[in-house]
């Protein structure tokens, strides 16, 4: 593989990195890592296959899009599972009883535990604690949500 194609792939990956941005890296690291991995893989495959500059550029950008989408989809499933656990916990779990969630695809898991129930302006509200283990690291947060007339729970503050 000519050295110039490697340079081109590297430059395009820097473009992808700039496009995904530091904020995305912090907010959704898996999507960013997926994008960069996809870009690198796509670029290298195109270069190895003897593709020209345009082909490599296309493969880098296409790989970035696909990789970013895959990474984002996994995080989305984590979020959906956590949100479902939160709804179940707030609606029907007694205080102190955790409702757990696990994403077997990522190995991520967590739980939502109601810690206090009260009424505010005629609405039921519950304080809760969330615990999660993401990539082996424990994370804990607290929040308050109030029950809306349609049965959903809206975060406060």
């Amino acid at each position: 593989m000519p050295r110039s194609w490697l340079h081109l792939t590297a430059v395009l990956m820097l473009v992808v990195l700039a496009a995904t941005g530091c904020a995305t890296m912090q907010d959704n690291p898996k999507a960013s890592i997926g994008a960069l991995g996809g870009a690198a893989f796509g670029g290298l495959i195109a270069a190895a296959a003897g593709g020209g500059g345009v082909a490599i550029a296309g493969a880098v950008i296409g790989g970035a899009l696909l990789g970013g989408f895959a990474g984002n989809a996994l995080d989305q499933r984590d979020k959906r599972l956590a949100a479902e656990a939160q709804q179940r916990a707030l609606e029907s779990a007694p205080t102190g009883k955790p409702v757990a969630w696990t994403n077997p695809d990522t190995g991520h898991s967590g739980s939502v535990t109601p810690v206090r129930t009260f009424q505010s302006q005629g609405m039921y509200c519950r304080e809760f604690q969330t615990d999660a283990i993401i990539d082996g690291k424990p994370d804990r947060a607290h929040g308050t949500a109030c029950r809306q007339p349609d049965g959903s729970w809206r975060m406060q503050g």
Binding site: S92, P94, T95, G96, T117, F118, Q119, G122, Y124, G151
Partner: protein
């Protein structure tokens, strides 16, 4: 008057437990379990704040349709006396504040040593006494 409060309170407190168990679809909820679940500082008894939290949660689980009030049909399984109290008010539902007030009359009557704490024994004795 105190006796009337006591009767109302005892029935409400005793049936609070069975009502809670039904509302949470649990069969394991006895006095000891209930006290333990709400005894935040693990001193073996419920103080007023712990009791208040327990009562608010009981109200939440009893309120099947989450209207913010307990309707007569939601009170029936809880206590005939409480139902009578609602009827005396010429209303068909009970607010959280009214429910809390009734339960705190229970608290005061059951707290025989007046230390501001409800133990499992005090609750059990109180329920048996009024039955």
């Amino acid at each position: 008057m105190r006796i009337a409060y006591g009767c109302l309170a005892a029935s409400a407190l005793g049936l609070l437990l069975t009502g809670l168990a039904a509302a949470q679809t649990r069969s394991d909820l006895d006095t000891k379990t209930w006290v333990k679940e709400h005894d935040k500082n693990a001193d073996g008894a419920l103080d007023r704040e712990e009791f208040f939290q327990a009562v608010v949660e009981a109200f939440y689980f009893r309120d099947k349709y989450k209207t913010g009030y307990l309707a007569i049909e939601e009170l029936k399984e809880a206590s005939p006396e409480m139902l009578s109290a609602v009827k005396r008010k010429d209303r068909d539902k009970l607010s959280l504040q009214e429910y809390v007030n009734a339960m705190f009359r229970d608290f005061e009557a059951a707290d025989t040593d007046k230390d501001g704490l409800l133990t499992v024994e005090e609750i059990d004795v109180y329920i048996r006494t009024v039955k």
